[in-house]
């Protein structure tokens, strides 16, 4: 009986929950402006999330998934990317999407039930929100394969949850990325819950980073409530990938402070006490404490930021609410590049039904 292989999983922590340092700062973090940018992005994300939940509660938006407490994963990941990289988010990465240039109004448009919200003016090659858990992992492998075949120094970055690591295609995509040495970075946003299922009921694996081992690729864990650490670890993975050294799996450990979505009531399955305890670790207060301690931040700037974020969100909400619905024929006009002849009858039927609906509404 002899040992034939050995594997180690490491964890990176930089900023402690109280804002003090647990390890050396990465180079980018020496620039206070960079840190403030990260801070602003997290605050904007939280402002957006809060507003989106409120809009849902008042019937002006569909179901939404808040990223409360997880902002560092999304923002840190996006900040580690270059514009020409491609993001493949799941449904809780608004922080990353906003960083990359998706507009608040577009997010609202999508979650308000309108496909036009995924026609981003900003990152044109980024994927839209992926709702079926984990099904975008193979897309990321495809995007990364495209980059590799074209010899472009670009990276596909896929973000998915702890629950998603139970999906077969996520493993399959990691395995492919390994054997084809693809420029693909997979960030597992381990917020400890998949709706009501805690990560301990999802897998017996001690870490989610070790999901990489079966794919023959490196896996690493990072404190996902520390935006500096997330950005540093993901950046290292991305640069490795960009340099042709292959994929990495990054597990970012965080906590879902909100309900799963506005359709969920988390008190049915977890204790308030657990949630309160986790509030102490959330990423925004932590970075604020650091910035304050270093003198990079103050109350005035905080107030100005909150006002800015509120204004940006409010303006977007107004624009979103004011936008009329698309014509009903949009549902058929964008399915194929050119409407197949046999569908032209159905297009006419859609027009007819839309007119009937308009009359019904008018008739009431």
């Amino acid at each position: 009986m002899g040992e034939i292989a050995r594997f180690v999983i490491e964890r990176v922590e930089i900023l402690r929950p109280d804002g003090t340092l647990a390890g050396p700062l990465p180079a980018f973090a020496e620039d206070p402006d960079e840190l403030v940018k990260l801070y602003r992005a997290m605050v904007l994300t939280r402002t957006y999330d809060t507003k989106a939940v409120a809009l849902q509660r008042t019937g002006r938006l569909g179901t939404v998934a808040s990223s409360l407490g997880q902002e560092a994963v999304a923002v840190g990941t996006a900040a580690a990317m270059r514009p020409e990289d491609v993001l493949l988010p799941s449904f809780r990465e608004q922080g990353a999407m906003l960083w990359r240039g998706v507009r608040i109004e577009e997010l609202l448009t999508f979650w308000g039930g309108d496909e036009r919200g995924s026609d981003f003016a900003g990152p044109r090659e980024d994927f839209p929100v992926c709702i079926p858990v984990g099904t975008h992992a193979p897309h990321a492998a495809g995007v990364a394969t495209a980059f590799k075949l074209r010899r472009e120094p670009r990276v596909a970055v896929c973000v998915l949850g702890d629950g998603a690591t139970s999906k077969g295609e996520v493993y399959e995509a990691l395995n492919l990325a390994g054997v084809w040495r693809l420029p693909m970075v997979t960030v597992v946003d381990n917020n400890r819950w998949a709706i009501s299922v805690p990560v301990e009921a999802q897998t017996a694996a001690a870490t989610l980073a070790q999901k990489a081992i079966g794919a023959g690729i490196p896996g690493i864990q990072v404190d996902g409530n520390d935006v500096i650490a997330v950005r540093a670890v993901v950046a290292r993975a991305i640069e490795r990938a960009r340099a042709g050294e292959g994929p990495t799996l990054v597990e970012a450990t965080t906590y879902r402070l909100s309900d799963h979505t506005t359709a969920d009531d988390a008190r049915r399955y977890r204790d308030d006490a657990e949630v309160s305890a986790r509030w102490k670790e959330e990423p925004i207060g932590r970075l604020r404490a650091f910035l304050l301690a270093r003198g990079f931040w103050d109350k005035a700037r905080e107030e100005a930021l909150l006002a800015d974020c509120a204004r940006a969100v409010d303006e977007a909400v107004e624009a979103y609410l004011a936008r009329p619905a698309a014509p009903a024929t949009d549902m058929i006009d964008h399915v194929f590049a050119r409407l197949p002849a046999p569908l032209s009858r159905q297009r006419a039927e859609i027009e007819r039904r839309a007119r009937l609906r308009a009359r019904e509404v008018a008739g009431r």
Partner: protein
């Protein structure tokens, strides 16, 4: 006897089935402490414990195959899919294993499993949460596809599905989960599978509808009655194998058939019913067989859903067109 909503009827049937047969298990995502995202399994975890109500890891392909293994061992797993849009990974296991395990082993092993899922639109839900994929399942040999359309039928058909020794896909119209109540006697009486329900008798026109649209079909029949038209309303309930005889008999009498469903029009159970009439009921037809359905496009997000989904006005309009044929 009490007035239940459809989702309560589902829950009542699940509890009854678990009570009467220890081989019945409930599994899926969030079916345990959370009671399912629609609360269809609420209270079952507390009552039957973690060995009868099992939250699985997040994978539909996995838990479908898991159910096949449990079924082969004599358990009767009832698997909840959270939404229609997450049913597709089950198809591989359904076609390649569930639907043929009995045939493949000449009955040595079998597959007494039920896959339950809420389906259909009209609740302004996010992408992938408003699909009507019944056609894909109805086309799988060896598997029954059952769609209830009221609390009482949900109760009786779900009991039948669970007790049935073969695989059943059970699609629950989520739009009417809580839309109305109906008296349901929790006496353990199952309703027959493979049999269409004649919900209203009529002479001039047969409306065949299933799922959430049965209500609209009945409303349309009421309105038509006011106009002096007598419409029969059929709910096939088991979409596959389809109760051919009842449909043929009805249309044989009325001479007109309108098929109403939320799924896209083409290549599904609506087509099958029309095809049946074209093959075996042709000479009793007084009017074309019409379908009122969605469109052959991906289900749009909620803002356009009102046009995608058919409603009472569409049914009435189509019915009147058929009735114009004398």
């Amino acid at each position: 006897m009490s007035a239940l909503t459809l989702v309560e009827a589902v829950r009542t049937a699940l509890a009854r089935a678990m009570e009467e047969d220890p081989r019945v298990l409930v599994l899926g995502e969030d079916v345990g402490r959370d009671g399912g995202v629609f609360r269809a399994t609420e209270g079952l975890f507390e009552r039957f414990g973690p060995e009868r109500v099992l939250d699985t890891p997040l994978s539909e392909a996995l838990f479908t195959g898991l159910a096949v293994g449990l079924g082969a061992q004599g358990f009767r797993p009832v698997v909840e899919f959270q939404f229609d849009g997450f049913l597709y990974p089950a198809i591989d296991q359904l076609v390649n294993h569930a639907g043929r395990l009995r045939a493949r082993t000449r009955g040595r092993l079998s597959c007494p499993i039920v896959l339950r899922a809420p389906f259909g639109g009209g609740i302004r839900a996010p992408e992938h949460h408003s699909e009507s994929p019944e056609g894909l399942f109805a086309a799988i040999p060896g598997v029954r596809t059952v769609v209830p359309s009221s609390p009482a039928r949900a109760y009786g058909l779900l009991l039948a599905a669970i007790r049935d020794p073969d695989p059943v896909v059970f699609l629950e119209p989520k739009r009417i989960y809580r839309a109305f109540r109906e008296e349901v006697v929790d006496d353990g009486a199952a309703l027959p599978l493979d049999r269409a329900f004649v919900l209203r008798e009529g002479r001039d026109l047969t409306i065949v509808a299933w799922g959430a649209l049965v209500r609209e079909a009945l409303q349309a029949a009421d309105r038509l009655a006011e106009e002096g038209v007598s419409a029969e309303v059929l709910d096939p309930a088991t979409l596959a194998p389809l109760d051919v005889e009842t449909i043929l008999a009805s249309v044989g009498r009325t001479g007109r058939c309108l098929i109403v469903h939320e799924a896209p029009p083409s290549h599904g159970p609506g087509a099958e019913i029309a095809a049946l009439l074209a093959a075996e009921g042709l000479f009793s037809l007084l009017a074309p067989v019409a379908r009122v359905a969605a469109f052959d496009v991906p289900t749009p997000l909620p803002r356009l859903e009102g046009v995608f989904l058919p409603n009472v006005a569409d049914i009435l309009e189509a019915a009147r067109r058929l009735l114009a044929h004398r």
